[in-house]
């Protein structure tokens, strides 16, 4: 079962229940199919289905982080998810703006990404995907001074799409 790590020493899994199924439901709605039909086109590698699924996954990511206190300030998505070039092996490029970049945030997102990637592979049969999300953390200073991915957030030429803001 994917619900939790069976180990008593590795600690509990992140609480990601429902992220994949809600994203699939929303994406199926968007392309006008029922759940079973959507899964079929997803497995067939339909680019429109994959694009819709990734966008919905990014929205679910926002919903997930919005519940976690006030660490997360905003979430941006960019790359193939928003420009329609999605393939079954494409990841979802995300910039997460946090109050403070800590090891606890990194560890949480690592676990979430790991579990969702395994779930995605099981759903789509696509084993070539390395990781579902490619997440870049930025903090206030990164954005203010345009450092690293903070520069992408501020960019007027390649502005990412802001999916959620606190």
């Amino acid at each position: 079962m994917i619900a939790s790590t069976p180990s008593l020493l590795l600690g509990p899994a992140v609480h990601y229940d429902g992220i994949l199924s809600r994203a699939m439901g929303a994406a199926a709605d968007r392309v006008g199919r029922d759940g079973v039909g959507f899964l079929a086109v997803l497995r067939a590698g339909d680019p429109r289905a994959h694009s819709a699924f990734r966008y919905a996954l990014a929205q679910e990511f926002c919903r997930y982080v919005s519940r976690l206190g006030s660490t997360f300030r905003a979430v941006y998505v960019y790359g193939s998810t928003v420009d329609g070039r999605t393939r079954p092996s494409s990841d979802v490029d995300i910039i997460a703006w946090v109050f403070r970049k800590s090891d606890t945030v990194e560890s949480l997102l690592l676990r979430l990404n790991h579990l969702l990637t395994q779930g995605y592979r099981a759903l789509t049969g696509c084993q070539c995907l390395q990781q579902l999300f490619d997440i870049h953390l930025v903090d206030d200073e990164d954005v203010e001074f345009g450092r690293a991915y903070g520069a992408v957030v501020r960019s007027v030429w390649t502005a990412p799409l802001c999916l959620w803001r606190r």
Partner: protein, 437 residues
């Protein structure tokens, strides 16, 4: 999408996901990568510390009570012996997988390294449901499994211990089987045995005692002391009850405790010796039915959100979640259980300035006294309990200081600092020893 379509979608996804499995070994590797990246270690060194040294799979035929032979699958994994002989439990569980055993063996390497005892990591498991086995079947399974892994284990190579669904009686059988097959006393081949056959004095209390030592150290760093501190303890088994007893004896006010039968609260401090007396007389060893002036019953989960200085979750994993982390008032949380705090809750607690002493350090008292048991077995010289307790305190206080310093040095949580500390020590041993040939 209609509600019915949504339900169908949910069912389809859940059915598909049931076929997928979380791979704990992959998760372990990812955690090593995360810590290794912070420490700037090269990929080849990290690959060495991620992979187990040896993996053994065995088939274990057992004559069942009805006369038929059932063949069970068992594993023993030696993750690392760079710091000393491998050490780690044997679990009997239907969900045991090789990847789980590999991950847990790796985790034992880290646990031993964090407290700086000269042992490496190992783990074993048998895929079985011990609740369906008779006493005789369980003994035959244990003895045959021991015989099958005997070429790999030994007092100077790999020392098993109890884990999920295994206990002192099973460890006694492991020792006796090894003794019979090797033709010489093999007390040091396994720890967690009964006292009469080479067990260590103070082993039962060791984990709870270690929790209290970590609380003392953590409070001292925050300018507080145990005497006068208010404490809530979730779980009143071997770990929680011992921690509560020792904290009470040191002058702390244990205002709340809970177990599966409910929770008790007394703002002036519970009379822990009286509660322990009640539990020892209870047929199921539970706190239910305890009454005393000023003691109020609570709903079990409420013990986690009491207004106290110290919270000790010593029950099950996954108790502090994103749902209740925002309501936790304790300044300090010391993890007596394995994995009581979810990663989401960790983040919320950190944001609220709560300090979490991680399980890998806080409940390491057990593995330290296992080490002492092995040392005593090798010397055939047995210590008094006071000596065990004194040595345990020295090791845990030093380990806490190292983790605390590491957290400051790298500006990370105590949890990450402990993991990094373990990794640093393992990598240092690899570098000092070199790579053969």
């Amino acid at each position: 999408m209609t509600p019915e379509q949504a339900r169908q979608t949910q069912a389809t996804v859940e059915r598909t996901l049931r076929e997928a499995e979380v791979n704990p070994y992959e998760m372990f590797r990812a955690q090593v990568d995360l810590a290794g990246e912070k420490l700037g270690y090269p990929a080849d060194i990290l690959e060495m510390v991620k992979r187990p040294e040896r993996v053994l799979e065995v088939s274990v035929p057992v004559r069942m009570d009805d006369g038929r032979i059932e063949v069970f699958r068992g594993y023993r994994v030696q993750h690392s012996s760079v710091r000393g002989p491998c050490k780690g439990g044997i679990r009997f569980h239907p969900a045991v997988t090789i990847d789980e055993v590999k991950a847990l063996a790796g985790w034992m390497t880290w646990k031993c390294a964090v407290v700086d005892i000269p042992l490496g990591g190992g783990k074993g498991g048998v895929v079985c449901d011990p609740t369906t086995l008779s006493e005789g079947e369980l003994e035959r399974l244990t003895r045959r499994y021991t015989a099958m892994i005997l070429p790999l284990i030994g007092p100077h190579h790999d020392i098993p211990a109890p884990d999920v669904n295994t206990n002192a009686r099973i460890m006694n059988w492991v020792m006796d089987t090894a003794t019979a097959l090797r033709g010489e006393p093999m007390y040091g081949i396994v720890t967690g045995k009964d006292l009469a056959v080479g067990g260590a004095r103070g082993r039962r209390e060791a984990t709870g005692r270690g929790v209290v030592i970590v609380i003392e150290e953590l409070l001292a760093r925050l300018g507080r002391e145990v005497a006068g501190a208010t404490v809530a303890v979730q779980g009143f088994g071997n770990v929680g009850s011992v921690a509560a007893q020792l904290l009470h004896a040191k002058g702390a006010k244990v205002v709340g405790v809970s177990d599966i039968s409910g929770a008790l609260y007394d703002p002036t401090g519970l009379d822990i010796p009286s509660l322990l007396e009640h539990v020892s007389r209870s047929p199921q060893r539970l706190i239910a039915g305890y009454t005393a002036p000023g003691v109020q019953p609570l709903a079990g989960p409420e013990v986690l959100t009491l207004d106290v200085d110290v919270l000790v979750p010593a029950a099950l994993e996954g108790q502090i979640t994103e749902v209740n982390a925002g309501q936790i008032k304790a300044r300090v949380i010391v993890e007596g259980a394995n994995g009581p705090t979810t990663p989401e809750a960790d983040l919320i607690l950190e944001e609220r300035g709560r300090v979490v002493a991680p399980d890998i350090l806080a409940n390491a008292g057990g593995v330290v006294v296992s080490y002492f048991e092995w040392v005593q077995n090798l010397q055939n010289f047995y210590w008094e309990e006071a000596e065990t307790n004194e040595r345990l305190a020295v090791i845990l206080r030093r380990a806490f200081q190292s983790v605390w310093d590491n957290a400051k040095k790298h500006d990370v949580s105590l949890r990450t600092a402990a993991f990094m500390m373990g990794l640093e020590r393992v990598v240092e041993a690899i570098r000092l020893r070199g790579v053969f040939p």
